[in-house]
């Protein structure tokens, strides 16, 4: 496996509270990595560190080394905007902008300087097709995005993230606010996206981790307890704590 993001000895503090302790992990390219663990274990915090969304939280301090394609993401020379263009993100709650479906998807490309209408149309259509929502919205691209269902909104948000052509897609519990049918559509979509993108997904749902992921990282109390192939983690975990968690003894 080729790793695209490598994390070495990473620690993170919120003020005095240490939220992540000495993480070491290699995120494999063009595969799906699931981050699991009980609430408050630090998996979402870790995810948001990868595209530096944690910069927005006052009082966060990070030590250690995170490299994306070999480059230190905390280097002073790094343009955070470019990093986030490369490493896109889908949030827990669908958060389309209060504008038309088209403008939602075109927002990213426009931000990165694409103004040609024909080119934008192409990008929007491709992104919506890749996010498996094109057929449902193609006749109402000019309608406000807040008018579609929650599941559609989340796929729209995925399309919006894809439209800037990222390499990595971070997903923070993307289905936790959705009904089972929307959830399974998104899961199918995630599996399709694996062809082109590296996906890191935080999930509370262990069945989901089993269904979609190739690799699983188990977090507990800010530590990365175990990382490995999903079938190994769920069939023969090395660590007693992992076993306890996946068999439902806590969490």
């Amino acid at each position: 496996m080729n790793s695209i993001i490598s994390v070495k000895d990473m620690c993170l503090w919120y003020g005095d509270h240490q939220a992540l302790k000495n993480l070491n992990v290699e995120i494999p390219e063009k595969s799906i990595t699931a981050l699991i663990g009980p609430s408050g274990c630090g998996k979402s915090t870790f995810l948001k560190t990868l595209n530096r969304m944690n910069d927005l939280i006052p009082g966060v301090r990070i030590t250690g080394d995170i490299r994306y394609k070999g480059a230190d993401i905390f280097d002073k020379e790094v343009d955070v905007s470019n990093l986030r263009k490369e490493i896109g993100m889908v949030f827990q709650n669908p958060n389309p902008f209060p504008m038309s479906i088209y403008n939602n998807v075109a927002y990213g490309p426009r931000t990165h300087g694409i103004t040609n209408k024909v080119q934008l149309d192409e990008i929007v259509e491709r992104a919506l097709r890749d996010a498996a929502i094109w057929d449902e919205v193609k006749d109402r691209l000019k309608k406000n995005a807040l008018g579609i269902s929650g599941g559609q909104q989340q796929r729209l948000c995925i399309a919006r993230a894809l439209a800037v052509q990222p390499t990595v897609l971070l997903m923070d519990e993307p289905t936790s606010a959705l009904d089972p049918i929307s959830t399974s559509r998104i899961e199918e979509l995630i599996l399709e996206l694996k062809e082109k993108y590296t996906i890191v997904i935080v999930t509370h749902n262990m069945q989901q981790a089993v269904r979609v992921s190739d690799y699983t990282a188990f977090f507990l109390l800010g530590e990365l307890v175990e990382f490995g192939r999903t079938e190994d983690i769920f069939s023969q975990p090395m660590d007693k704590r992992t076993e306890d968690y996946i068999t439902g003894r806590f969490g």
């Binding site: 595209n51 969304m53 927005l56 905007s81 470019n82 990093l83 986030r84 263009k85 896109g88 993100m89 949030f91 709650n93 958060n95 389309p96 902008f97 209060p98 504008m99 927002y107 990213g108 931000t111 990165h112 948000c157 919006r160 993230a161 800037v164």
Partner: protein, 318 residues
């Protein structure tokens, strides 16, 4: 307590509960009556406001319409000359109407960009410390009496304009516009900041996660999301500017000229009423009421616009 007879115990408790209920809530109970009385008092107090508005409206229409009819609505609204004390009096209020419109438009043209940018800064860029300090300054600006604005305008602005532009008298439309622009800043800033603060953080995070810079995010996501609140802030500023009397009276020169140039001495709708009321009589006095009526109609229009924008804000969040 030893319960010897279960049935009678249950009956007793039920009786007690029913009595309690009756005492507290049944119609005609003391608590219920008190509730009605309190309700009535609050309703009465609320009606005082409504009553005042109704009374003023009716009074203005009754006292304002006769002069308009006597002078003729076209001559009154579009007459270019106001000479209420001349041997052959003329009652054309076009100079006042235009002055009020130009003055307000000028104040908005200066005050809105400054106020808007200030609110974006306060809501999005400023550190909590700076924000709190600047917001108290803005609050203070709102609390300064308009006569003080007028005084400072008279002592600083008017001579300044005379020197800078080399005109015989600095008191005029430009001075009034600048004073009004400053006076409407607090309402614009306060309301815009509230609207911008209310934009969900999720929108901004989504934009940042797409690789937009903070500035792009604020102007392309946050501001559009807050646009009806900001529009309402602008309308509020317009209302404040058009209704202001004291400060503009002190700096505008207060002569009923057509506002032909920025340095012309002019009189606003508000000051037209206040400057002649003390010595007016007859038709002149009635005409002043008519001016007040026109001003009132302007304000009503602005209020309607404000309600329209605020309603837009409300329906969007649903």
């Amino acid at each position: 307590m030893v319960i010897t007879n279960k049935k009678s115990y249950i009956k007793q408790t039920t009786d007690y509960n029913t009595k309690l209920q009756k005492k507290l809530w049944y119609k005609g109970s003391k608590a219920q009556r008190l509730e009605h009385i309190v309700h009535g008092i609050f309703l009465l107090l609320g009606l005082i406001t409504v009553g005042c508005v109704l009374l003023i409206t009716i009074y203005l229409f009754i006292s304002g319409i006769p002069a308009i009819l006597k002078i003729g609505i076209v001559d009154f609204l579009f007459g270019k000359e106001w000479a209420s004390t001349a041997a052959e009096p003329k009652y054309g209020i076009l100079p006042f109407i235009l002055t009020s419109i130009y003055g307000t438009a000028g104040a908005v043209a200066i005050g809105v960009p400054v106020g808007f940018m200030t609110s974006v800064y306060l809501s999005k860029y400023a550190s909590p410390k700076v924000k709190s300090a600047m917001q108290s300054a803005v609050g203070l600006l709102a609390g300064i009496p308009s006569v003080v604005y007028g005084l400072v305008g008279m002592l600083v602005l008017v001579p300044g304009i005379r020197k800078i532009f080399n005109v015989p008298d600095g008191a005029g439309l430009l001075a009034a516009i600048i004073v009004l622009a400053i006076m409407i800043l607090p309402s614009i800033i306060k309301m815009s900041v509230t609207a911008l603060d209310a934009v969900p953080k999720e929108y901004e995070h989504a934009s940042l996660a797409l690789g937009a810079t903070p500035t792009e995010t604020y102007f392309r996501v946050s501001v559009p999301a807050a646009k009806s609140g900001i529009a309402a802030a602008v309308v509020l500023g317009v209302g404040r500017a058009i209704g202001e009397a004291m400060a503009v009276m002190m700096v505008a020169g207060n002569v009923p000229n057509m506002p032909d140039s920025l340095f012309q001495s002019v009189r606003f709708l508000t000051t037209a009423v206040s400057s002649e009321m003390a010595y007016s009589n007859g038709l002149q006095r009635q005409a002043l009421f008519s001016i007040a009526l026109v001003l009132f109609l302007f304000i009503m229009l602005i209020n309607a616009a404000l309600n329209f924008f605020l309603k837009g804000e409300g329906s969007k969040s649903n």
